[in-house]
Amino acid sequence: MPLINFLQPLVQSLKLTTNGSDCPAKPLQMGRVVPDPNRCVQCGICEYNCPIGIPVRDYAHRGIPVDDHNCITCGQCVNVCPRGTLRWETKTHTLIADRFPTTVDPILYKKQEVPEKAL
């Protein structure tokens, strides 16, 4: 499908990255920090290391992107997280993610029916 061919690079750029690899080298870049609530153990290293004091742990607990206008996008929290909970998301896929929101709230998140394994 030609549409899929067109979308492929965009979708590939959505793939998860672990600690630090795609972090901005210097502050003030376009993008935001996105947590994976399944990996978070709420240890608080992220907000301890945040130079602005943004409650990153709360965002991670709720599973929503860190959309704080005070965020200087320094990438500290992404680098220090010992469990690879946080990742850096660039402006491009922020646009896509907002257009097609996925389930985010772990509290309200309804577990999908999983097909029973054929035995």
């Binding site: 998860l16 153990v41 608080g44 509290i107």
Partner: protein, 455 residues
């Protein structure tokens, strides 16, 4: 107005309270805790020991949170449960009635099974108080011995070494984290541990902890071969036990922990259990399994909360997952990954494995130590990045990822959602870089198919 009583102020209890408050604004919610502090992140204690965060920072819920959710917190251990009158008596003689009871008391470190376990200098990485004590003692400590085979012992070893204590790690067997790692994986971790100045003693077992002349401080340990080893700190990380004192003399059914059905109910009406003290049905092993994992506790707490407010919802236990950072090495563990029978079996002459693991360490799951029959495994190694997959039939059932974590989340998705990988299997068995490439391609394809399907 329903009285919800939650025993335990950990991940499961607090998540359940939050879910209940979201669904039932009128109900009375009380959390009973044996500890004097607010809810904290137990996995975070390892980072407190590494001094990456302060002990205060690990507190995950502030008093405002309890006030905002109108949750009453009582600091007193629950002592007695009367299921006929539906009451719980606390140590301070207070009696709390309930309409719905959630037991989420979790697990506590197994105490040292040697003489001298009471001495000053015997430390645990289990509670916030214990960790603070451990930090204080490590300041003055010179030489430490850590005993245990799981994550907690390794975290304690790393923390002690970080605090400038000469650290010796005693291992009963000949392989690091032998329940989970195969030989190559253990070698990698060993290398990292040597970089952190940890001395590893294989096949060493402690027989007794020796006290000083007055008998109140640790002076060393006596080994099984009668050698004495001087030290002033002994870290115990031999595992945890679910806390079952409260339910011991009640009709509540227990196996290794409280048995619950898919609605997180025990066999007694209005009594639910979640977290480290609950044994939940696992669809891979088809048994009730115990997870000592933060994400599992959260998911179980959420399910229990929903069912307690009357919203019947079956909980489907996911594939147990943990990612950790030990000595600077990223390790992700998913599903059934017991390495013991990786070598081809020779005419059924394999040793019988014990069914139940005696000591389950914090941050692990019983499911990890199991194996499906029949199964095959695939292996890829590239310097310090390894990938081990366990395949049963057309499905992936387990994976262990060390180093590069880019495939950890895709693997978890594939295992959790039981995606058929029939066409991929020949490529996986090739191993090496072909394995990683084909897996990445498979994942990209899967992601694209999902993006193409309208939600």
């Amino acid at each position: 107005m329903i009285h919800y009583l939650i025993v335990g102020n950990g991940a499961a209890g607090v998540t359940a309270a939050e879910v209940i408050r979201n669904r039932d604004p009128q109900g009375v919610i009380t959390i009973v805790t044996a500890e004097s502090c607010l809810m904290y992140s137990r996995p975070g204690l390892a980072y407190v020991l590494l001094k990456e965060i302060s002990p205060n920072q690990v507190i995950a819920r502030q008093p405002e949170w309890y006030a905002h959710h109108r949750i009453k917190l009582v600091h007193s251990p629950a002592k007695y449960l009367d299921i006929d009158t539906q009451q719980v008596t606390l140590e301070n003689q207070q009696t709390l009635p309930y309409d719905r009871l959630l037991i989420a008391v979790g697990a506590r470190a197994t105490p040292a099974p040697y003489d001298g376990g009471h001495l000053k200098g015997v430390v645990y990485l289990d509670t916030l108080e214990g960790t603070k004590d451990l930090l204080r003692q490590a300041k003055r400590g010179r030489r430490a011995v850590v005993i245990g085979g799981g994550i907690t012992a390794l975290e304690m070893t790393e923390g002690m070494a970080h605090n400038g204590v000469e650290t010796h790690y005693f291992l009963r067997r000949d392989r690091l984290w032998g329940q989970v790692f195969n030989e190559s994986e253990a070698k990698i971790l060993e290398e990292y541990m040597h970089h952190h100045n940890v001395n590893i003693h294989y096949n060493t077992e402690v027989a007794e902890i020796l006290g000083d002349r007055r008998g109140n401080k640790v002076r060393g340990v006596r080994l099984k071969n009668d050698e004495e080893f001087k030290c002033d700190l002994v870290g115990i990380g031999i595992g945890v036990r679910p806390q079952l004192d409260l339910v011991q003399d009640t009709p509540i059914e227990i196996d290794r922990a409280i048995l619950v059905n898919e609605f997180m109910e025990s066999n007694v009406p209005n009594v639910y259990a979640a977290g480290d003290c609950a044994q939940v049905y696992d669809r891979w092993t088809q048994q009730h399994m115990l997870d000592i994992l933060w994400p599992s506790a959260m998911a179980e707490g959420r399910a229990a909360g929903l069912n307690m407010v009357g919203q019947k919802e079956a909980y489907i236990k996911g594939s147990p997952f943990n990612s950790c950072l030990l000595f600077g090495l990223h390790i992700a563990t998913i599903g059934q990954i017991n390495p013991r029978r990786d070598k081809p079996e020779t005419n059924g002459s394999t040793k019988a494995e014990p069914e139940v693991i005696q000591h389950l360490s914090r941050g692990s799951s019983e499911v990890w130590f199991t194996q499906p029959t029949p199964h095959t495994s695939a292996w890829s190694e590239d310097g310090h990045n390894t990938l081990r997959l366990i395949i049963s039939g057309d499905y992936l059932v387990g994976a262990l990822v060390i180093g590069d974590q880019s495939l950890a989340d895709p693997l978890r998705y594939i295992i959790e959602n039981q995606i058929n990988i029939h066409d991929l299997i020949p490529y996986l068995h090739e191993g090496g870089s072909a394995l990683k490439q084909s897996l990445q391609q498979f994942w990209n394809q899967l992601e694209m198919n999902q993006a193409a399907t309208p939600v």
